[in-house]
Structure formats: structure tokens, C-alpha cells
Subunit: 595 residues, 2 copies
């Protein structure tokens, strides 16, 4: 094998262009393709910048040509040669460097390569486990390189933005304290302190609040966080968040600053202008109109409450629901009255997966309304429904009845599903909004207690504090989420900064005073030494970059992601460890012990 | 307590100056000091920027004055008022804002504070455990705020530098695979994969090499790393490193780029110019002349080999040592011939802690040479020693004899100690150098095997590869360390990038083929799919910032450090966890089980 010794790379492949004609260059990269044609050897050489064609001719340099004959795909080469304009008939308009080629004078084979298990090309359909095992080959694909470079540009822009506004990036510990509230902690046994464990942080929430107590005033950090959750959907055991906290501010200061930040990112990294201020919806409004606290506003089809229209309609199902404090709500799927009966049955199954017991429909066909429920309705009821939903000929109403939370969820999902089926969602559109005024608590039926909807450090609205202790469900929090295209990309709040109020909130979620001090004593104590009013927000970096890259999975914007079973396919982690290691850590594996 | 509602902070405290006179401002911060004088109340209000004096007068605003009477140290205030020039006799030249004061019109007490356990001032002598427990108060001290802001500026400058040169910051996993080689791993039990464990990374070494295989070409990352070592000296279980890797380069490319980077950092963050190129010493030369592979070049006092001078001197101790392949080396402590006998005895004890069995000395006093050994020497031997060491009247020679490694270590330490005692080390000086041509392996007498001096992924020099397998001690590596003022701040190497050579090196350090593939199989496999020649380096961020901040401990540049017993005094981590948590992770604590 050759070395680079005495040769210095002068150019990246894809920056060579017409005006480099006759220039002597040295380029390095991987063989993307080799063709032999007309006694010449053509090699597409690929580096991070892209590709350029290199030609070897026996007439021009025999030694280089002979070596080139041994070259295979993914070999690593260094080529010294002259840039030449291609003749008009050989110009390749598909290639950025298609107007030129490099005539090879010297060829060094820096490394060989076996045949890769899949093609190093975009749009190649490869099983994800294979991609993850050979991640180093998968990451050679231009698209994956673009994703990682986009991620870099985004974090760089974030840091430029915050640095320019007086924020200080402070690193918070990874080995910290377990305080399971929410997700499970990853634990790390301590060798020096037998029987004790560190936890990896689910977020630096308390450290950033402590930094506010410490007078840092404006903090940010791009930081790794950990949640040992079941990896349904598109989650990773470790993920990265942009974490922000500010003192002496109110909600408007934070929201405005974050809108500026997001606009800056999209401008810098994607060249897109984001109009501001962003739209806002209260939580109640978002749930009522879209059945979601992270509504996708790229299309309409809002949820319409037809409870008044069908009140006392005589249709027993609806009447019963309404008597029990429930709702009847509809979406108007415009122009879809011709929906096949089989699809309607499928939709009934679909909403059933979200807990809905049935789906009513009304098709406004040219021959009149077809429906399984209008036979129970008076003409007046039908008119009221039509009026409420503004349904016209050709439209389809899909109707759910039940308790508000259940209807919102199932009908919200149905709305999204119909949006996808009818292709109403413009993938190029960016629909941002703030959702504000979240409930402070939600009732956990399983644990039979109130839990904090955001987290227990969120401040309740001043005017709602009086309900603490006897009507927690009524309390709204000073919390806010930023939503993009139906995905929550950031969430935050103004925080509690007084010990008494914090203790009351801990009590409301069922923590005894002892438990509260055991877990969060240092925070409660810190609050007594001069804590400024403060608040913040955190953005999920993986998800944000995924949306910017227009990818469907966060695994495509993470260099070395884990699978749904939380394993790293390439390095084979987690793995077994030696008994000696465990002994030093004062732990036993129940599994290894059994062996 | 008051809120900020309706009031907006307009200025930071310390940016107010003469030209703000008569401006109405709103400032926020902490009470650093309150004095009552002449019927007025003076408050030094402190925020992140610094301090400004606020005055409350009963004549100007009675309500604000009355409130100000209740204010104590570290209360959090918002003050609206007018900037006034101070009269000439009340100007405070000690204060940046000493020419002005703010006349308080409205005072809001945003939070109260108990009396802090120590003063929030620089240069206050407080026990470190107390500082760490109340870290939020310790971090309020201006010096600690400066340290954290310096750290921020340094990392920002690093990112600007690398971004500007086409490097991509890529995040590598924190939950990865255990491959204990070097320090102990921190382990993380897996819930989803019973009996298996993740390890926290000691460095992203293999991931960054994999990124080179993946064609990223220029990678960097500022990344948390973990080593479960005994925390002697100034180490932390988690630390941060600047991690760099490049493809298609040789050593000179990396060294030059890193010199530019370091110069950029010192210019940006400290305003200091670093002359380049940096000096270089080979490992052998550094050991010979300074007895250290990280020599402090801020002063001379080099180690002098006087073996030739004392050969066959008739002094039995030296003769025996030299016959056994040892050395006799001296340092010339100029002008210190008058050293008290008691101090000489103390130095003998000092070198004993580094394994030296005795210390010889020669004091060149006006009355002639005083020494415990010259009585064994001929006049000629004494002359040769004097010549070799260039000792003159007033000088002190300190002499050690023994095997080369032992002499180097003990005499190198003695040199540093004498440099400190004689105050030869200019704290303002910055002495950088590269140490190059390290040995590839060193013999571990305890484990009775060769180990890699840097790490086993370091490339041996091409001309030394032939010695692999039969004379590993002779092989030099393509490794380099950057040293600043006697501290290694960065270390790296060109890497092995061919499977065969990597396998040979694994074999040389005693790994069987099976063990090598079990631990590093993915790397060996990756090498076969087109791996470019590559190399890199890593810098210890904590240590670098510590040196830039001229602090003696890395704990002063880490927001939330751990103690020497690896505990977080503030949050009380590590801590006990519930049996339910452990059960879910399929592990048992031997300690908790015993209870």
C-alpha cells in the first residue's frame, strides 16, 4: 500500500471547476465507480465535498494507468493530476464537476476495500440493522453526510446566537442524582461509595435553576440527556437538547427571544425566513380545535363541536354521552363524500385504536346525505349539523362522541390521518406556533394521584395559586411549548422560585415533606438564599434537525443511534462485563449470577 | 414579595457610566452591601456584570426608602431610578461604576435571603466542602463568574476556529461499550438487555476513527469523558475534552493546525499572542534534559549527565551504579550554595518520595566546595564535574545516581521543587512545546506485559514496525503531546489504519486474537472497507482553562465539580436508590443486600 508521504492534498474533489483548467491538483477520496472505456480508465472519486471524474490513460502515464487497473470500489486513493475541460459531448450535467475531469499523473492506493454489503448511494433501500451495523459505510452516503453537516451548522448557529446575546454556556454534570419523577433513570454504580449510585441526567433542569440562583442570569447548553424509556416510536435512550434559562424576565421576553433564535437557525442553516411573531393557541383552544396540544396547522379540518346541534336529537348514543358531560364533535373532510364503505369501516377500526367506541359519518352525496345515524335525526337536527360544520355537497363528516379528552385524542388523530390520506399536508410548509396556558397538573389514573404536566418546578399562574390543595385540576401553569408541523420541538416555563410555593406543589403531587427534601432539598434550601425570578425552555435537537432535514426518523440525524431495543449494532453495546468489574462496583448481575 | 410585573430591566449594573447621567434605568441584582449613612441608605447592587451603588433617600422617595430599610445582604432587588454623577469627594476609584450612583425611585424586593454561610467576595478563605455544598453561593463570587465566562469564551473560540476550517462537530454516544484498557470504566446496567452493561466513554477515540472511515475527513467535538480512577491530585470522574481527528494528513499538518488553534484561543480569550512555531523536544531529549515528558520550560536548571565526569572516581556508590548501566546526573542550583544543612536533609527526604535512595550535593562556597562526597574524589574528578555543570562560586549541585528512568523522575521533580523554592517560575510566562517521538510501548512490571504508552491505536513509526514482536521497547510511535508550563494539555498521534498492523499491536500488548475481536472487532472490520490515513489529538479542556485562568485547581473552572471522593456535595450524589429501580435493571447491590 502507498502512503501520502511527499504529497499534499491541494483540493477537495467537488470544488474543482472550469476555471481550474490546466491546474495541477492533488485530490484524495474514495472510489465511487470505475469504468473502463476506449482503453481508458474512468474513476469517480468521492470525498466529503462530492465527486469528480479522474481519467487514467496508458499514453499519459503508464504507471498510474497500470495501478488504476487494480482499483475497486471504495478503495482510498490520492491522485495527482491536471484538471482538463471535458469535450462538449462528454460534459455531464448531472455532476457538479461535470464540465471537467482530472487527468491522472500519479496514483497512490492508500488503502484497499472489500466489497461493501450495500451500495454507497442515496435512495438505496437497505435494511436499517445492516445500515447501523456498518454505520461507517452508511455515513459515507452523501445524504447522511449532509444530515450531519446540517446538524453541525444548526448547533453552531445556536451558539452564535446565544453568545451574541450575552448567554454563557455552562456544562452541568452527567454523573448526578437519581430523582425518578417522570421517566426511569439510567443508574451508574459508584465504586468509591459502595451501595450508592449516580444517575445520568434526564435534563439539567435543577442545575440550570441553581445557575440562576448563582447569578449566571443567562445560561444555555447543548447537552446530552438520558431517559430509560421503552423505545416506542422514534426515541433514543440518549438524546440532545438545547437548554436555556434566564433570570429577571417574564414570559414575553423568553418567547420573543426564542422566536428570534428559531428564525436565526432556519435562516442560517436552511436559508428560510420564518415570519414572526408566531401564532399562539392556549392549551384549551388547541385541544378544542385540533384535539392535540401540538397541532399540525399545515392544514385546516378543525374539530367542530356539534353538541349543541345534536342535543336532544333523540339518537340515544349522543343523548347519553351529552347527559354524562360528554361531547359530540365532527371533522369535515371536504370533497370526500365518495369515500368507499370499506375505508369507512377501516376508519372505525383506526379510531378504535385511540379508544373511540364508534365512528359516525355523514356523506353529503349528490343523491343526498348517506349516513348510519341521520335516520335517528329530525330534519332540524340535520340542518343544525350541516350549518355547524358548513358541510356542502361532496363533503364527508366524521363524528365522534364521548368524554372530551377521549374525543379530542381520537378525533385529533383522525384529523391527521385524513390530512395524510387526502394529501393535504404540504411537506415544504413550516407551521410554527406556541401553545400556552397548559394545565399545571393532570390526574394519573394508574397512580391515583395528580402529576405535574410539565414538571413540578413550573410556576402556577399567580391567580390560580389559591386553588393549590383543593382543586389542582383547575390550575394553569406558566408553561409554553413551541410546536412545528405537529411536533413539539421545545417546551418550557417560568419557574417557582420561592420555597413555600415549591413545597406546596410537591405536596400536591403527593410527595411528603421528607421525600421532597430527600430528593430536592438543595433546591429548596437554595431558594432561601436570594433566588431571582427565572424561567427557561429546552428544545429537542435531534427532532429539530430531523424536521429541518425533512427526514422521518431522528436516527438519520444522529451519527451513532441505538436501535429500538436500545442497542448499538456497530460496537455491540451493551455487552457483558467481567465479574471483576462488577465486584469492584459492589453490584451483582442477577442474570450473570444465574449462569 | 414583589414581582417584576410591569417593570423591565433596562441595564446591567456595571455598564452604567458617566454618560448615563440623568437617564432613568431599571436594574436588577443582589445586595452585596448595605450601609446607612447620613439619613440615606446605600446599597451596592451586584449582577453578573459587576456592581453599582444605589442610594435611597426619604426625601426623594419615602416608600422606596422605607422598603430599603428592610433589605439585607443577598436580597434580590429590582430598582428603578435615575443615574446621578457622584460629587468629586464621593467618587470611588476602586469601583468601575464609582463615578455614578443610581438614585432609587422604586424598589421591588423580588426575593429575600438568609445570611449566607460565607461572604460572597473574592479572596475569601472558605473551606472547599462548604463552597461545594453551597455552590450556588460560591458561584456568585465575581472570580468564579469570570472563570465560567472564560470557559465559555474558550469553547466558543474553539468552535469558531474549527468551523472556519471545515471541521464538523459530531456527537458520539455516551452509552457505549466497555473495553477496559487503561482506566476503569463507569458502567450502566441495561434494563432492556438483562445482564448487559453500557460503559461511559473514557474518550470517543474509536468513534472518531470510525468517523474517518465514514469519510467525515475533519471532525471535532467538545465532549464529556469519564474515568473511574482514584482521584489523587486534581482529577475529576467526568471531564471535558476537545477531541479532533483528520484524514489525509501527516503529522506536520496536525501540529501546525493545533498551534494555530491554541494561538487563536489565547488571543481571543486572553488577548495574548503565542509565538509560533512551538518548540519541539523528542521524548528522549525531554527525559534527558528535564527528567519529564512534560517539562516546564519557564526556567532552566537542566539535568546534566555527569556520568563521564565521575566514571571510575573511586566513589563506590557511583561506580556501582555506572557498572550496572545507571547514570549520575546533577542539577546546578545557581546561587544557592548557602543552603542550610537542614534544608539539604529535607531534600533528601523529598527525593526519597520519588524513589531515590540518596542525594549527593556540592556547595561551591567562598571557602571552597562543601560536600559529603568530594572526599572520595580526585581533584581531576572534581574539576570534571565542575566543568560539566559549569558550577561557579555560590552554586549548589544536587546529584542523583541510579537507573535512568528513576534518576530522571526524581531529579526532574527535584528540579521543579527547586524552581518553586527559588521562585524561578514566572507565573505570567507561557511556555509551550511539543514532545514528539514517544516510545510506542512501556513495560508494566506489575502486569508483566508491554502496554501502549499512548493507546494501542497509535501508529508506530514506519521504520520501527519491523521490531514489533521481538523488541517492542525500541519502537517509537507517531505520537505527540502539547505541553504548557509543565502540564500536558493535549496528546495525540497518527493512527494505525490497517487491520494487519493493528492486530500485531494488539498482540504486542498481550491481547489474544479472540480478545481483540471481542473488544474491537468493529474497528478491525471497518479497516477493511477503505480506511483513509488519519490522525488526531485531544486537549483537556478543564486543565487548559485552569491554566488560562491562572488557577491551581480544575474545580475552579468546573461549575459543579466532584470532591476527591467522587461525590457531589450539593445534590448529594451518588445516593441510595430504591430496590425497585435495581430490580428493573437486573442488578443487586452487595451493600444494600447486606442491610
Amino acid at each position: 500500500m502507498d502512503t501520502l508521504a511527499g504529497l499534499k492534498r491541494t483540493h477537495s474533489c467537488a470544488i474543482l471547476a472550469k476555471n481550474d483548467a490546466d491546474r495541477e491538483v492533488t485530490i484524495c477520496g474514495w472510489v465511487a465507480r470505475r469504468r473502463d472505456h476506449g482503453g481508458l480508465i474512468f474513476i469517480d472519486l468521492r470525498d466529503r465535498s462530492g465527486m469528480v471524474q479522474v481519467v487514467f490513460s496508458p499514453d499519459y502515464n503508464t504507471e498510474a494507468f497500470t495501478k488504476a487497473e487494480t482499483v475497486r470500489n471504495e478503495y482510498v486513493l490520492a491522485v495527482r493530476g491536471k484538471v482538463k475541460l471535458r469535450s462538449a459531448d462528454t460534459v455531464n450535467p448531472q455532476m457538479i464537476t461535470g464540465e471537467i475531469e482530472v487527468l491522472g499523473e500519479e496514483l497512490r492506493i492508500l488503502n484497499q476495500a472489500k466489497t461493501p454489503p450495500f451500495y454507497i448511494q442515496d435512495e438505496v433501500d437497505v435494511d436499517e440493522p445492516l445500515r447501523l451495523k456498518y454505520r461507517y459505510l452508511d455515513l459515507r452516503r452523501p445524504e447522511m453526510q449532509r444530515n450531519l453537516m446540517l446538524r453541525h451548522r444548526v448547533t453552531k448557529a445556536m451558539r452564535d446566537f446565544f453568545d451574541g446575546r450575552g448567554f454563557v454556556e455552562v456544562e452541568t454534570p452527567m454523573l448526578t442524582k437519581s430523582s425518578p419523577e417522570g421517566a426511569r433513570d439510567y443508574l451508574v454504580p459508584s465504586r468509591v461509595n459502595p451501595g450508592k449510585f449516580f444517575a445520568l441526567p434526564q435534563s439539567p433542569q435543577l442545575f440550570k435553576q441553581i445557575l440562576m440562583v448563582a447569578g449566571m442570569e443567562k445560561y444555555f447548553q447543548i447537552v446530552r440527556c438520558f431517559r430509560d424509556e421503552d423505545l416506542r416510536a422514534d426515541r433514543q435512550p440518549e438524546f440532545t437538547q438545547l437548554d436555556i434559562e434566564m433570570s429577571f424576565i417574564d414570559r414575553e421576553d423568553i418567547l420573543a427571544m426564542m422566536e428570534d433564535m428559531i428564525a436565526y437557525l432556519f435562516k442560517q442553516a436552511c436559508g428560510v425566513d420564518i415570519p414572526r411573531p408566531l401564532m399562539r393557541l392556549t392549551y384549551d383552544e388547541a385541544m378544542a380545535r385540533y384535539g392535540s396540544d401540538k397541532p399540525d396547522l399545515r392544514f385546516g379540518m378543525e374539530l367542530i363541536d356539534i353538541s349543541p346541534a345534536v342535543k336532544n336529537s333523540g339518537f340515544k348514543v349522543f343523548d347519553t354521552v351529552l347527559e354524562q358531560g360528554g361531547q359530540v364533535k365532527a371533522i369535515n373532510v371536504q370533497g370526500y363524500a365518495g369515500i368507499p364503505r370499506r375505508e369507512l369501516d377501516g376508519l372505525t377500526d383506526y379510531v378504535a385504536t385511540y379508544g373511540a367506541k364508534g365512528l359516525a359519518w355523514m356523506c353529503y352525496t349528490p343523491e343526498g346525505i348517506k349516513s348510519q345515524i341521520t335516520k335517528f335525526f329530525s330534519e332540524e337536527t340535520i340542518q343544525k349539523v350541516t350549518q355547524a360544520t358548513q358541510a356542502k355537497e361532496g363533503d364527508l363528516l366524521l363524528i365522534l362522541a364521548g368524554q372530551p379528552a377521549g374525543v379530542a385524542n381520537a378525533l385529533g388523530q383522525l384529523r391527521l390521518e385524513m390530512g395524510r390520506r387526502l394529501d393535504l399536508i404540504d411537506p415544504e410548509k413550516l407551521s410554527f406556533l406556541w401553545v400556552i396556558d397548559f394545565p399545571m397538573f393532570e390526574y394519573d389514573a394508574e397512580e391515583k394521584r395528580w402529576v405535574a404536566m410539565h414538571h413540578p418546578f413550573t410556576s402556577p399562574r399567580d391567580e390560580d395559586i389559591e386553588f393549590l390543595g383543593f382543586d389542582p385540576g383547575r390550575i394553569k401553569a406558566k408553561a409554553y411549548d413551541m410546536v412545528l408541523n405537529g411536533t413539539e420541538i421545545g417546551g418550557g416555563s417560568l419557574r417557582i422560585y420561592q420555597r413555600e410555593l415549591q413545597e406546596k406543589v410537591f405536596k400536591a403531587i403527593g410527595l411528603t415533606r421528607d421525600e421532597a427534601y430527600e430528593k430536592f432539598g438543595y433546591l429548596l434550601e437554595a431558594f432561601e438564599y436570594g433566588t431571582p425570578p427565572h424561567g427557561g425552555i429546552a428544545f429537542g435537537l435531534d427532532r429539530l434537525v430531523m424536521l429541518m432535514a425533512k427526514r422521518a426518523s431522528i436516527r438519520d440525524v444522529i451519527a451513532f443511534p441505538k436501535t429500538q431495543s436500545a442497542t448499538d449494532m456497530m460496537v455491540q453495546a451493551p455487552s457483558e462485563v467481567s465479574l471483576r468489574q462488577l465486584k469492584e462496583l459492589h453490584v451483582k448481575s442477577e442474570v450473570i449470577a444465574k449462569k
